[in-house]
Symmetry: C2
Subunit: 126 residues, 2 copies
Amino acid sequence: MNIKPTDSELEILNILWEKGPSTVREVHEVLEKNKEAGYTTTLKLMQIMHEKNLLKRDVSNKSHVYTANVSQEKTQGQIVKRMIDNVFNGSASQLVMQALGNHKPNTEELNEIKKYLEEIEKQNRK
Amino acid sequence: MNIKPTDSELEILNILWEKGPSTVREVHEVLEKNKEAGYTTTLKLMQIMHEKNLLKRDVSNKSHVYTANVSQEKTQGQIVKRMIDNVFNGSASQLVMQALGNHKPNTEELNEIKKYLEEIEKQNRK
DNA sequence: GATTGTCTACGAATTGTTTCGTAAGCAAAC
DNA sequence: GTTTGCTTACGAAACAATTCGTAGACAATC
């Protein structure tokens, strides 16, 4: 299945991934911190996301409780894959260099990445 | 200035970055290899991209010649930055790991990335 | 039991992207 | 000079995302 959330939908998914199951009001309050938005706008968005199966919902209470129905890892993976294909002509390493070039990681992050690379290298040698 | 091409626009930009200045017909012929599309559709898209200043054009000949008016590096950089913010909560290294995890680079690419990392490390030590 | 506040549902307006039909210009071929 | 073929320009239709007003349901409060 292919996951392709819009930017607005991604904002909501990020909140749900972080906070876990939440009502529209709870999500809306987080959104409001960063931008102007009417309550019914957030409601409608989340209803549509539910129709698209991006969100699950529990309607047993008056205030429905929504949960992300797609995993953060899988969603990130698909977005990255699409970007590698569309923007970097299929070259993952080009994306990596671009990401590193503009957002220099600190030493700790560097070590993490290097450890990761070594693992891949080991597998390559096999 | 903020560059935010749509997916269709990116397809055209990719062709122009690769081929250099081209007519609508030339771009269209490349596009057709990968997908169905009418000639006037491509034309209209490129005209709109010109209005948005994504493309330059030379109208001295009957067949106008279009050129990308945004650099590949800058465009890629902005898209990557937006993605790091929207999808990876600001963490470039998380994006890097995700990219490496799903699209294992070959040995040559690995070396390139490692060289890059070492340079960053050197700078960090200063 | 009327009022108030919060919720969902629904539909419509707005905006942006994509697609393409049609007309008009122009030059080469007949 | 008329036909043919390629070009640009224009406008409209189709579609999707976003926004929000309004109505109705429901429960707590007066």
